[in-house]
């Protein structure tokens, strides 16, 4: 060993940038012939939201399999037609690493090298907004994966992008009245917020609507994204003189912060509210912590009791993968279904034609009942399920963490168009 400290540092730096740049795409079947259509799937296989990304990927895989076979929910929606306008769907899956840069890089490769008809995916708002811009710049349709920020269909909205998850405004407007009814109108809330678009957007909306119900916001603690040790943030929260802890953190960060909050005794002193519960949040923190927690889930397999399409989706998903789908899988499946349906209506696969049909807002019956896109900002008009964590002894199966308190209709909670800040660029 004859190398100096300097060369060690230079080399470390080099490896760190190699780490940042490594994309590791996972190529799948690509026939490339004229009777196929290429769709690019961008899933978070590594990074902070990788578990959500895995569920997302499963949703896409089932969706495309059933679309090509004309079965399942796809079969019902499209009347048993196979593929899209006689063409078989082929796809590749790429890892976004839960970061915007690799996401844009992979999406651009799909567009330029694979001639993607459409691309879809992403779990973090930061990635999704970045890919929306890629879609607009290249004029290729992008059906977003999971993204809960208002900005996705607000100030960063794009003509070539459509978002199906409920945004922060919808979540908060639906959740706040339920919280006030169940927990009272005189609550003092403290917020833990991840420092990026999604975090600030959801925290701001939650504050607005809970304050309308009479709540007081006593403090907001902002933590960088991602963070692993929350001790210093939780000390501030524990000393905030609040009775309600609103945790905006998502994915792994949501799990770590909540586990540590329990250790700090925060959850004994305060009621926990998680406005947007991530896919595997409950699995990570466990049923003991989850019991009695209020929040919203974009979708849950429990909705199979209300919607027939949800029942069929859960059945087929469970058959294929041996586990029940989570909400990221539902977003993936339904986005593919909505796109395929729009292609048939447009009798075209050209992004511009498909966008026109999507903007017409034809209701389509899927696993959240009838949903349709709003022309003005490309937000899906869809219900918001409000949930309460079950006690461990009330759970039926190890993934049955939630009881559905209410399903708030989408129309009643949509943000008024003039407030979204969205100006769609021309086609």
């Amino acid at each position: 060993m004859a190398d100096s400290r300097r060369s060690f540092l230079t080399a470390s730096l080099g490896a760190a940038s190699a780490l940042a740049a490594s994309g590791l795409p996972f190529p799948r079947i690509s026939l490339g012939a004229d009777d196929t259509l290429f769709v690019g799937l961008l899933c978070d296989q590594t990074g902070s939201y990788s578990a959500d990304g895995e569920d997302l990927q499963k949703g896409y895989e089932l969706a495309i399999e059933e679309l090509n076979a004309g079965t399942g929910v796809m079969g019902k929606v499209l009347g048993g037609k196979k593929g899209v306008l006689g063409k078989k769907i082929v796809y590749k899956i790429a890892d976004t690493q839960t970061k915007p840069d690799p996401a844009v890089q992979r999406a651009t490769e799909f567009i330029t090298q694979d001639k993607a008809t459409m691309f879809t995916g992403g779990v973090s708002t930061a990635e999704v907004i970045a890919m929306e811009k890629t879609a607009q710049a290249n004029k290729v349709l992008f059906m977003t994966g999971a993204s809960g920020s208002n900005d996705t269909t607000g100030k960063d909205c794009q003509r070539y992008a459509f978002r199906s998850q409920c945004d922060a405004y919808m979540v908060s407007k639906a959740l706040a009245p339920v919280l006030a009814a169940k927990l009272g109108k005189k609550r003092r809330a403290v917020y833990l917020v991840p420092d990026y678009s999604y975090g600030h957007s959801l925290a701001d909306s939650m504050k607005e609507f809970t304050e309308k119900e009479g709540w007081t916001t006593v403090a907001q603690v902002v933590a960088p994204f991602p963070t692993s040790d929350y001790s210093s943030y939780l000390t501030n929260i524990a000393n905030a003189n609040a009775d309600t802890f609103v945790n905006i953190e998502f994915g792994n960060d949501g799990v770590s912060s909540t586990k540590q909050a329990a250790q700090f005794g925060v959850l004994k002193k305060m009621q926990l509210v998680v406005p947007n519960i991530s896919t595997y949040f409950a699995d990570g923190v466990g049923a003991d912590i989850m019991a009695g927690v209020y929040g919203t889930l974009p979708w849950s397999f429990r909705l199979q009791d209300r919607y027939p399409m949800a029942k069929l989706f859960v059945e087929n998903f469970t058959k294929k993968f041996g586990i029940r789908p989570r909400w990221t899988a539902q977003i993936a499946y339904d986005q593919i279904a909505i796109w395929a349906d729009a292609c048939y209506r447009a009798k075209s696969i050209a992004s511009a034609d498909v966008i026109k049909v999507l903007e017409e807002g034809h209701p389509i019956e899927l696993s959240l009942g009838k949903v349709s896109y709003r022309a003005g900002d490309h937000q899906l008009v869809r219900p918001v399920p409000i949930v309460l964590g079950k006690k461990p002894e009330a759970m039926q199966g190890k993934d049955d963490f939630f009881e559905i308190l209410e399903v708030v209709p989408g129309e009643s909670v949509m943000q008024p168009l003039n407030l979204t800040g969205c100006t769609l660029p021309p086609v």
Binding site: M1, A2, D3, S4, R5, R6, S7, F8, L9, A11, S12, G14, A15, A16, A18, L19, Q45, T46, G47, S48, S50, A51, G53, E54, D195, V221, V222, A223, P224, P226, T227, S228, D229, S231, S232, Y233, T235, N236, A238, G251, N252, D253, V255, S256, K259, Q260, A262, Q263, F264, G265, Y280, D283, G284, V285, G286
Partner: protein, 271 residues
Amino acid sequence: MALVALGLTIVFGLLGFVNFAHGAIFTAGAYGGWVVYTKTDSFVLGIIAALATTFVLGIVIERLLIRSYYNRPPEDQILVTFGLAIVIVETIRAIFTGQTQMFNTPAWGNGVINVAGIFYPQYRLEVIGVVAVTLLAIYLLIYKTKIGLIVRAGIDDPLVVNLLGINVRRTFMFVFAMGAALAGLAGVFDSPLLAVNPDMGTDVLVQSFVVIVIGGVGSFGGAIVGGLIAGEIISLATAFIPDYSQALLYVAMALVLILRPQGLFGVVGRS
């Protein structure tokens, strides 16, 4: 944090080897501990399992791979361990899926202690105790025992030590495995705090490199002081200017590099 950094700095400082797979070994320790802890409901057995898993893992990779890289430039070492990290993490993902696993705080760690008006989780205090004992033990091992003497001598002049009839290769293997076991220990103790999934080691690696740079590469005391300084910077900054807490850590690192490039406890020109 100090444990992870210490494992890293022992391997780098004593063997002169840059180990980018350290974060992955941390994850392997967490999973080894998790499997046994969930099966037996005993955190102590989980700790033993984590130590055993990573110690054996350390021996295996040292024997099969690392040994051939001691005399190669750090670029090669970084590349090979970076690749190794991917293999370890993806193997864990293939076996356990990418899903976050539940890892409870052990019963004896549940509780909050009131230290002079500030509430602090019992578990963290206990971990601080464990870390202190471990650090002391490692210190004694390296500086006060015959094994430590051989290790240090072997690093200074492997040839002479070999001529004295001592198996230097085996000693190096032991040191590497010990560094790995320290990462494993940190992994299992951090699991009740973190989301346990295959990527949990990524941030840990980056932060421990910062700790080492602040403390001084290859310095025992440096790893501990560096860890404490990094922790203090983040805590104090979070209390007063939370938005900049992480940035300040790197500012501190940059300042150390400018003012004292060898690190606070590093020795100038150490090769």
